[in-house]
């Protein structure tokens, strides 16, 4: 029987193996080569690495203004996984494979990499921005380490209560101006069959939200002290916060802790959403999901006692320049102009969030009203818990708080605080020794 497939000389196993081996070697060598993303960028551009892949159009909008001001545009790239992004920045920022600008967090997470001498001192940029009134000078400290600033605010968000205007209207509820009033609102919503607060966090960073807010509402000075190792986690204000939190759970004010913030638009359309304490940056997601200013409003959590000064928690990202950036001078120029009012207007026009520059307001009334309220009442601005202490301390404590949210008894609140305090003792010792 003839061979069904006539052809030329058959390939031997050795030839196939040799070809495969050469192919593998070539692929390996190609993988080791430097990618185009880590070479100097095209003239007139600076590269920016970020962990938020959806912000590309925002950088483009800001770039259009930056180009007119200084002749440089931002070419952004992103790594969606936060854990991967952190590792890549830690590795590449030490080498000349780094991008010209990096997105990072402020506070202790910025200090952690700043003390490795891989970031450019931006003190002059801050002096300039403060002189022009482009930024609140109070923010400078959270971007500094040992007197030098290592980043400028990339964005600025506040923690406030998102509420359903429909649910409030249908139940005759006014926006509360006191803490007791807020508890009354929660009770009214609960009586109407609506879970008052959507509160995710069982196994996520979000477990910090109510903890930091309650501390800020009870004693802002204590919050600032406990996050900087000047007070203990088992002091009275922390105990009071855990008792209040536990009591709110006992009153049925919170959702199950394994919900996600992405449930919010669906709950609004079903008429089952009441309130959620969250970062104002989330407003953009809600607007993208089709909600409008008519559906959602914002208010700040009032102080627990009328004698306590109002405080608000602030989240910020850092725009930093690695020392080994290819276009370091241009990157510093971009940082210098990033806070300019026209650049920020373009930027927050995309973000739909508040700006580090108080003069730049987003188009959405949702955040604009909150920004106006903050500008008028001037509450103490506190750095968000995530960035307020050394990373291992925060990560461990956030896990403890998530565990508390699953079993929110008073006794568990006590043991949670003891665990947080024990971790604080260990981690501060490590931080101070480094």
């Amino acid at each position: 029987m003839p061979h069904p497939i006539p052809g030329g000389p058959a390939m031997t196993r050795r030839t196939a193996l040799a070809l495969g081996g050469v192919g593998l070697l070539t692929a390996t060598l190609a993988a080791c080569a430097r990618g185009t993303d880590t070479r100097p960028s095209a003239p007139g551009t600076v590269t920016l690495n970020s962990d938020n892949p959806t912000w590309g159009p925002g950088y483009d909008a800001a770039s259009a203004v930056l180009e007119a001001r200084i002749g440089y545009r931002i070419t952004s790239r992103s790594i969606a996984s936060v854990a991967n992004y952190n590792q890549i920045i830690r590795m590449t920022a030490q080498t000349n494979s780094t991008t010209d600008l990096i997105k990072w967090t402020n506070g202790y997470r910025l200090q952690d990499i700043a003390r490795a001498d891989i970031l450019t001192d931006l003190n002059e940029v801050w002096d300039d921005a403060i002189g022009r009134g482009w930024v609140d000078p109070a923010q400078r400290e959270s971007f500094s380490y040992e007197g030098k600033a290592y980043g400028v605010p990339l964005y600025k968000s506040y923690y406030a209560v998102f509420y359903s205007k429909r649910a409030f209207a249908e139940n005759g509820i006014e926006v509360p101006t006191t803490f007791d009033g807020l508890m009354g609102v929660a009770q009214t919503l609960k009586d109407a069959g609506i879970t008052p607060f959507l509160a995710p966090g069982a196994t996520t960073w979000e477990s910090e939200i109510w903890f930091m807010q309650l501390l800020a509402s009870i004693d802002p000075d204590y919050y600032a002290a406990v996050t900087t190792d000047k007070a203990s986690y088992v002091d009275d204000p922390a105990r009071e916060a855990m008792d209040v939190w536990s009591g709110m759970y006992a009153d049925g004010f919170f959702s199950a802790p394994d919900v996600t913030s992405n449930d919010l638009p669906g709950l609004v359309s079903e008429g089952r959403f009441g309130m959620m304490l969250y970062g104002t940056w989330f407003a953009n997601t809600l607007l993208a999901a089709g909600l409008t200013d008519d559906d959602i409003g914002f208010f700040r959590v009032p102080p627990r006692a009328s004698s306590t000064a109002p405080a608000v928690l602030v989240e910020s990202g850092s725009l930093s320049v690695p020392v080994k950036a290819h276009r370091r001078g241009a990157a510093v120029d971009v940082a210098r102009n990033w806070l300019a009012t026209d650049v920020q207007e373009a930027w927050v026009g995309f973000l739909g969030d508040t700006s580090p520059n108080p003069a730049a307001l987003p188009k959405s009334d949702l955040v604009k009203d909150l920004a106006a309220d903050i500008a008028a009442s001037k509450p103490t601005e506190l750095i968000r818990y995530w960035e307020a202490s050394p990373t291992p301390l925060v990560e461990g404590n956030v896990q403890d708080l998530g565990s508390f949210m699953v079993t929110p008894t008073k006794a568990h609140g006590e043991s949670t605080l003891r665990s947080m305090e024990a971790r604080a003792r260990t981690e501060w010792k490590i931080w101070d020794a480094a």
């Binding site: 854990a83 952190n86 590792q87 030490q94 069982a202 394994d258 990560e395 403890d400 699953v406």
Partner: protein
């Protein structure tokens, strides 16, 4: 290779004095054979050394340092001391042990039962298809499906409510050890199909004459299974159990996606502890210490198991 390569039956190997083989064997040249052998082995050895041995040696080296990615200082055995005295690490070891036992009992046990039970049934192929289908779904997609099923007010709670079984509603992924048990169940749903396929291959390699002889001798049902079928499946069982032990010791993706090791560190496994120390806390020395411990456990378990199972039968 020992894990995926079942022992070759003796009859499949041609005897040394086979005349048809003798004619194609090249004449023996002293000194050339070892050299040629080394040349053939070199690429494989080089790859193993480069991709496994060197990284592992570097991981061991790194585990003796306090290393934050920027600076590195020698701390001797401090990372190991801290690891063994951390209660979260004890919890992680316990959870990993649960995973080993759970995946041996459920996917392997069920896989064997389904393969043997449906082997000669008329509609057996249909039943097997239903079990094998989830195996085609990726681990991440499985985790998404099960997150929907097991979260509060999720699919399982809704089903229980429909059936009037409200008292059974639980915080499936939030309470330990229930969350670990449910994650093992989710993994069972996905992994049983692979075990069924492997056991079916094993069943098909059993000579029909053996089974017929046993049936002529009056063996049937359980007796036939325990005395004839199961012993004949031994080579395949060794492979399936071996893969299951190693897979469960390094379980990671399902736990990361379903509970992220939480609440707290309640459902963390060793692989997750290693990930947290290395990539979340940037403590590369501590992460390396966990990696070394995990590697030692995996290698020791595999060696102990395979050494026992693959020992030549005593004549």
């Amino acid at each position: 290779m020992t894990l995926t390569q079942p022992p070759v039956p003796q009859e499949a190997v041609a005897p040394a004095d086979d005349p048809t083989r003798a004619s194609v064997v090249a004449p023996h040249r002293p000194g050339r054979a070892p050299l040629a052998g080394a040349a053939f082995l070199a690429p494989a050895v080089a790859l193993v050394v480069l991709l496994l041995v060197v990284p592992f040696a570097f991981t061991i080296y790194r585990s003796f340092f306090d290393d934050n990615g920027f600076t590195r200082s020698w701390v001797g055995l401090d990372n190991y001391t801290a690891m063994f005295t951390d209660p979260a690490f004890g919890q992680s070891v316990l959870n990993t042990f649960f995973w080993v036992v759970g995946t041996l009992v459920l996917p392997v046990g069920l896989g064997l039962a389904i393969a043997v039970g449906t082997w000669k049934l008329k509609l057996g192929a249909l039943a097997r298809f239903a079990v094998i289908l989830p195996y085609a779904i990726s681990g991440s997609a499985t985790a998404v499906v099960w997150t929907f099923m097991l979260s509060t007010d999720g699919g399982l709670d809704t089903l229980l409510r429909l059936l009037g079984l409200d008292p059974l509603i639980s915080q499936w992924l939030l309470q330990w050890p229930l969350n670990t048990v449910m994650m093992i169940v989710a993994t069972t749903w996905q992994a049983t199909g692979a075990c069924v396929i492997l056991f079916l291959v094993g069943l098909q390699s059993i000579p029909p004459s053996t089974l017929e002889a046993a049936q002529l001798d009056g063996a049937s049902g359980w007796r036939l299974f325990w005395a004839v079928t199961f012993p004949q499946l031994r080579p395949m069982t060794i492979v399936v159990v071996g893969i299951s032990i190693v897979g469960s010791l390094k379980v990671f993706d399902q736990v990361l996606l379903l509970t992220n090791g939480g609440p707290g560190t309640a459902s963390e496994t060793l692989a997750l502890t290693m990930y947290r120390e290395t990539f979340t806390l940037s403590r590369y020395g501590s992460g390396a210490a966990v990696a070394v411990f995990l590697t030692v456990v995996v290698v020791a378990a595999s060696y102990a198991y395979l050494r026992r199972q693959l020992r030549p039968a005593q004549s």
